[in-house]
């Protein structure tokens, strides 16, 4: 496992789109290993924050450090699973092998073991894009985990998957977290938050409204906006 990227410090992060600040002074420190779940209504800035953290978006203002590293310097220790997995127009096994920087050094046994861990070993030679949505997401996760990342980011990776696929992906994420990978995931699913989260970051209006241990967040949220969100009220 690579060096820890903790603590993750985000200071006064601002991102402007048009004439609106979609991230409006985000301040956040993540110090502990385990699973941090980012929650919040649509448009709260969750995905944008994750993309800034991964280096996919350059913020207009603010600073992010991961341990002693910048976002750019930590990139090869990060992996991200997107809501809609993008798989190459190749077989399942070739998709996985592509995650190995020097493909000549790819260990077939290691690749097959990785496929087996996501229950796709019997699909190794099928075209990857013919897999179901849940299978594609499992393959994307296996591909992300192959690099043994210190930080794993998941952007609503289980949205629109069937319950069995959700539970399988959750078990893989939990196992990876126990191996020492810091996991940050975005979810709208409160059930998933309760099952996975050690800590919850709640976002609203492009800012972090609340950061709490999971137990506390789901039983006694500290902010009215989080309380309303958990009660299923529409937030404007």
């Amino acid at each position: 496992m690579p060096d820890s990227l903790l603590p993750i410090r985000i200071r006064n992060l601002r991102l402007i789109k048009g004439d609106r600040a979609v991230l409006d002074g985000v301040n956040l420190t993540i110090e502990e290993l385990g699973i941090t779940v980012i929650m919040g209504s649509n448009g709260a800035g969750k995905t944008l924050l994750l993309r800034c953290l991964h280096g996919l978006i350059e913020p207009d203002q603010g600073q992010i450090t991961l341990g002693n590293l910048t976002v750019a310097d930590s990139r090869d220790q990060q992996a991200m699973v997107f809501q809609h997995p993008v798989l190459l127009r190749r077989t399942v096994l070739q998709n996985l092998a592509f995650a190995v920087p020097d493909i000549a050094k790819a260990d077939p046994q290691q690749l097959l073991a990785a496929l087996d861990s996501v229950h796709l070993a019997d699909r190794a030679n099928q075209p990857a894009r013919m897999l179901s949505g849940g299978e594609q997401q499992r393959l994307a996760l296996a591909r992300a985990l192959l690099s043994k990342p210190a930080l794993l980011l998941l952007d609503e990776a289980t949205a629109s998957l069937d319950p069995a696929s959700v539970l399988l992906i959750e078990s893989l994420v939990k196992a990876q977290s126990k191996r020492g990978t810091k996991v940050i995931l975005i979810s709208h699913d409160q059930g998933q938050g309760r099952r996975l989260a050690d800590e919850v970051v709640f976002m609203s209006g492009g800012q972090v409204a609340e950061q709490s241990p999971a137990d506390q967040f789901f039983t006694e949220p500290r902010t009215p906006v989080a309380e309303a969100y958990l009660a299923g009220k529409i937030l404007f």
Binding site: H54, G55, L56, R75, D76, Q78, A79, M80, F82, V86, L88, R89, R90, F98, A99, P101, P127, R129, M130, R143, A144, S147
Partner: protein
């Protein structure tokens, strides 16, 4: 009607003159295509995935070159290869090599511009994932070329279609010399002007058949790719 029957006879009996012309046409076009593909596919891919000042101007010029009149290409290559031109010392004018050069100049912008469009679309889809996986530079270019292989095959076949049907440039730099640089299109032009419609029709039929085969191949490749979700 007699000319048509005679043309058919030439094809069926594998007439030596006809097949000499046919073979030279295919050879010149395939070599030009191979050289052009090696240049144009990486160029189109590189233009699609990199950003640099003046990139849009390069793309604009490339697109404009797609419509370059063949006779202008022929004239340019002629000036380059003529005895008083910068490459005149090579003695290539009126040889199949000169025709290959002209065809490369003609089809490289076409394949590069088409492949640029194909790869740009793929890049929209792959960009974030490749960034996340740290796939850049040469590795990214190879990956795009591999993943767009079926769509790029269509681009290449379009280039081949253009090359094999070309007449203006190759007649200028090749000279349409019998048994040396006479290809299907130049032979058709010559035989028609002489009133010898038999050979012209036979060559026309072969050219048309080749065009149909290329198009059938394009459709076949597309269907195979779609079936395997590789499109």
């Amino acid at each position: 009607m007699n000319a048509l029957a005679e043309a058919l006879r030439l094809i069926v009996t594998l007439d030596a003159d006809l097949f000499e012309i046919l073979w030279l046409s295919i050879r010149v076009s395939l070599i030009a295509l191979a050289i052009s593909a090696v240049i144009s596919l990486p160029l189109g891919t590189w233009l699609a995935i990199t950003r640099f000042p003046g990139r849009k101007v390069v793309i604009l010029v490339l697109n404009a070159l797609m419509g370059m009149p063949p006779v202008v290409v022929g004239l340019m290559v002629y000036l380059l290869l003529s005895r008083s031109g910068p490459l005149g010392w090579m003695g290539l004018l009126y040889t199949p090599t000169a025709m290959i050069i002209a065809q490369v100049v003609l089809i490289t912008p076409i394949i590069a511009a088409l492949s640029h469009q194909v790869i740009e679309n793929l890049h929209q889809e792959y960009r974030d994932t490749f960034y996340s996986m740290g796939v850049t530079g040469r590795r990214a270019i190879v990956a795009y070329l591999v993943d767009a292989r079926f769509a790029l095959t269509t681009c290449i076949l379009a280039g081949f279609g253009r090359a094999i049907a070309e007449v203006g440039a190759v007649i200028i730099v090749g000279g349409n010399i019998d048994h040396l640089t006479r290809v299907m299109t130049t032979a058709i032009a010559l035989e028609t002007s002489k009133g010898n419609l038999t050979l012209a029709l036979a060559l026309g039929a072969v050219l048309l058949t080749l065009s149909l085969l290329v198009n059938a191949l394009v459709i076949g490749v597309r269907e195979y790719a779609a079936k395997r979700q590789y499109a």
